[in-house]
Amino acid sequence: MSTLVRDTRIVMARELRPVRRDPFSVIFGMVQPLVFLGLFGPLLVGSLGGQAGVLGGSVWQWFVPAILVMTALFGTSATGANLLFEFQTGAHERMLVTPLSRPALLIGRALKEMVPLAGQAVIIVLVMTPFGFRPHPGGALIGLALLAVFGIGLGSLSYALAIAVRKQDWMFWAVQQTLIFPLMLLSGMLLPLETGPSWMRVAARFDPLAYVVDAERALFAGEWSADVAWGWVAALTTAAVGLAVGIRAMVRSAE
C-alpha cells in the first residue's frame, strides 16, 4: 500500500512538471470553453434571457457553472492523447520496466488532472465575476471539489481509451469526439433541455454529465438541493468506474 502511494506521488509529480514549467499550457485547455463563453453566452442572453424562469435569474449564473463542467469535459477527455504519445515514443515502455506499481501509473496521471482543471475553473470564475457572475463562496468550493472528482474519472476513462486503441491511434480522437458531443448536448449544458422534446429529457437521465451540470448550477447558486447529492453520486461513480477500468487497462498495457 505504501509503495502504491509513493509511486502515485512520483507519477503525479512527473506529470505535473511540464505544467509547472509552462503554466500557460493550462490556458490551451480553456480555449473551447472560453469561445463558448464569449460567443455563445451573448446569443444565449439574446434568445433566452428574456424568457423569465427558463434560465433562472441571471444567464451567467446558469451558464458559467456549465462552462466549468465543459472545461473538465474537454480537458480531461483529451488527456489520453498524452499517454498515447508516450506509447509511441517509448517513454511508457521505459516506465513499465521500472519497479513502479502499474496501478500508480494510472492513478497518478488521473489525480494530476485535478490541478490544471482547478486552475482553469478559478480563472473562469475570476474572469466572469466582473460581468455579474456571483458565485456562492462555499458552494463554489464544493463545486470545484465535485469537478475535481469528476475530472479524475473522465481522465481515467480517457487513459483507458488511449490504452485500448494504442495500436490504431487515430481511433482515439474518433471515439472521443463521437462520445463527447452527445454527452454534452444531452447534459443541458449549452441550452436548457426543458425546451427540447421529451425523449431528450429521458436520454439525459442516463448522462452522468447532466447530474454534474445540475449540481454545479445548484452549488454555485448556494442552493443545497437534491441535485447536489445526485451530482456527487454521478461524479463518484464516474471516478470509481474510470479508475477501475483504467487500472485494468494499465496493468495490461505492455502486451
Binding site: 509511486d7 512520483i10 512538471r17 514549467r21 515514443t89 517509448g90 515502455e93 521505459r94 520496466v97 502486451e255
Partner: protein, 320 residues
C-alpha cells in the same frame, strides 16, 4: 546473469494467425559479459529482449534474469536491470534533468540522492549544456545518450540496450559507444544489446549471438564465428587459372573455389599463410601470378554461410 530455456513467443495477429517471433531460445550469459544479439529486422531480437525485461510474458519456456525468474518474480527482475528500448525512453514533454530525477525517485533514491545521481549522469554522458532543455528539442544523438543515462540511474548489474545506435551518424555512434564502454568498465556491468549493424557487433561485442527467424543460429566470439563459419577469402589473378585452381585445392581449408576469367576466388582457413604457400607452389609449377588479395571475413559472410542470405541487404531493404 541470464539463463533461458526454450523461450518462445507467439503473437496472434488478425484472424487467429500466429507469428512465431521467438522459437525455443536457450542461452546462458555470465556476469560481466558484453553480448551482441545480431539479426535482420523481424528476427525477434526486440521480442526476446521484451520477454527478458518482463514487458511481455513468454508463450512457453522459462528464463531467469539477474537471479530471478521472469514469470514468478518480475518485480525483483525489474529492480536489477536497466533497459534502453528501441524507442525514446525520455518523455518528450519533460526536461533532461527532471526526467533523470524522476527515474532516480522511481528506484527509491531520496531527493538529494536523486538530484546528485542525475547530475553525475549528466556529466558522464556529456549532457551538461542540455540540463534544462526539453527532450523534444534534443537531437537524435543527444536523446539517445539521455536514454542510456536513464537506464543507468540505479547502476544496474545488467543493462539491456535495444538498437542503441540506430539512426545515429557514425560520429554519434562512436561517441555513444565510448560512453557505454566507459560506464561498463566503471560498474562492471553485464551488457546485452541488439543491433543490425554488422560492424558494431564485430568491433564492440565480446560475444555475438546471431538470431534469424526467432532462433539462435550461431553463438560465439566474432573471431571464432568468422574463422569457423566463414573463413578467409583469397583472390588470385593469373592467366592460367585452371592450373592455379588445382594447386589451390591442396591448401589447408580450401573450399568454395570459383574462377572467372583470369581470377580465382576461394575460401581458406588462414589467408596470409595460404597466399604465401600458393605463391611458392605456383612458382614451382611455372604458373604466373599477377595479383594476390586476401580478405578477412565479416560477420555478413558468417550470416551468408549460415542462411544463404546477406544481412546487409536485408537490413537496408527493411529500413527503406
Amino acid at each position: 546473469m541470464i539463463h533461458t530455456r526454450a523461450l518462445t513467443k507467439d503473437f496472434t495477429v488478425g484472424r487467429g494467425e500466429a507469428v512465431h517471433a521467438v522459437r525455443g531460445v536457450s542461452i546462458d550469459i555470465e556476469p560481466g559479459e558484453l553480448v551482441a544479439v545480431l539479426g535482420p529486422n523481424g528476427a525477434g531480437k526486440t521480442t526476446l529482449m521484451r520477454m527478458l525485461t518482463t514487458l511481455i510474458s513468454p508463450t512457453s519456456g522459462e528464463a531467469t534474469v539477474a537471479g530471478h525468474d521472469i514469470a514468478t518474480h518480475p518485480a525483483r527482475v525489474r529492480r536489477r536491470i536497466g533497459y534502453v528500448g528501441q524507442g525514446n525512453g525520455a518523455g518528450h514533454t519533460q526536461r533532461v534533468h527532471d526526467e533523470l530525477y524522476t527515474q532516480g525517485e522511481i528506484y527509491g533514491l531520496d531527493r538529494r540522492a536523486a538530484r546528485t545521481r542525475a547530475d553525475e549522469l549528466i556529466e558522464a554522458l556529456d549532457l551538461g549544456a542540455l540540463r534544462e532543455r526539453k527532450v523534444s528539442d534534443l537531437s537524435g544523438g543527444q536523446r539517445r545518450r539521455l536514454d542510456v543515462a536513464l537506464g543507468l540511474v540505479h547502476a544496474p548489474p545488467l543493462l539491456f540496450l535495444d538498437e542503441p545506435s540506430t539512426g545515429l551518424d557514425p560520429q554519434n555512434r562512436a561517441n555513444l559507444w565510448e560512453h557505454i564502454l566507459r560506464l561498463r568498465e566503471r560498474h562492471g556491468m553485464t551488457v546485452v544489446l541488439t543491433t543490425h549493424y554488422l560492424d558494431e557487433a564485430d568491433t564492440m561485442a565480446e560475444r555475438v549471438v546471431i538470431v534469424d527467424h526467432g532462433r539462435v543460429i550461431a553463438d560465439d566470439t566474432a573471431e571464432a564465428l568468422k574463422t569457423k563459419l566463414a573463413g578467409d577469402r583469397l583472390t588470385v589473378g593469373s592467366p592460367d587459372v585452371r592450373t592455379l585452381s588445382r594447386l589451390a585445392e591442396a591448401l589447408p581449408g580450401a573450399r568454395d573455389l570459383a574462377s572467372s576469367g583470369e581470377r580465382l576466388e576461394l575460401r581458406v582457413s588462414d589467408a596470409p599463410t595460404a597466399a604465401a604457400e600458393l605463391l611458392f607452389a605456383a612458382r614451382d609449377a611455372g604458373v604466373p601470378v599477377t595479383a594476390v588479395q586476401s580478405h578477412r571475413p565479416t560477420l555478413d559472410d558468417v550470416f551468408l554461410t549460415l542462411t544463404g542470405r546477406s544481412l546487409r541487404e536485408e537490413s537496408s531493404e527493411v529500413s527503406k
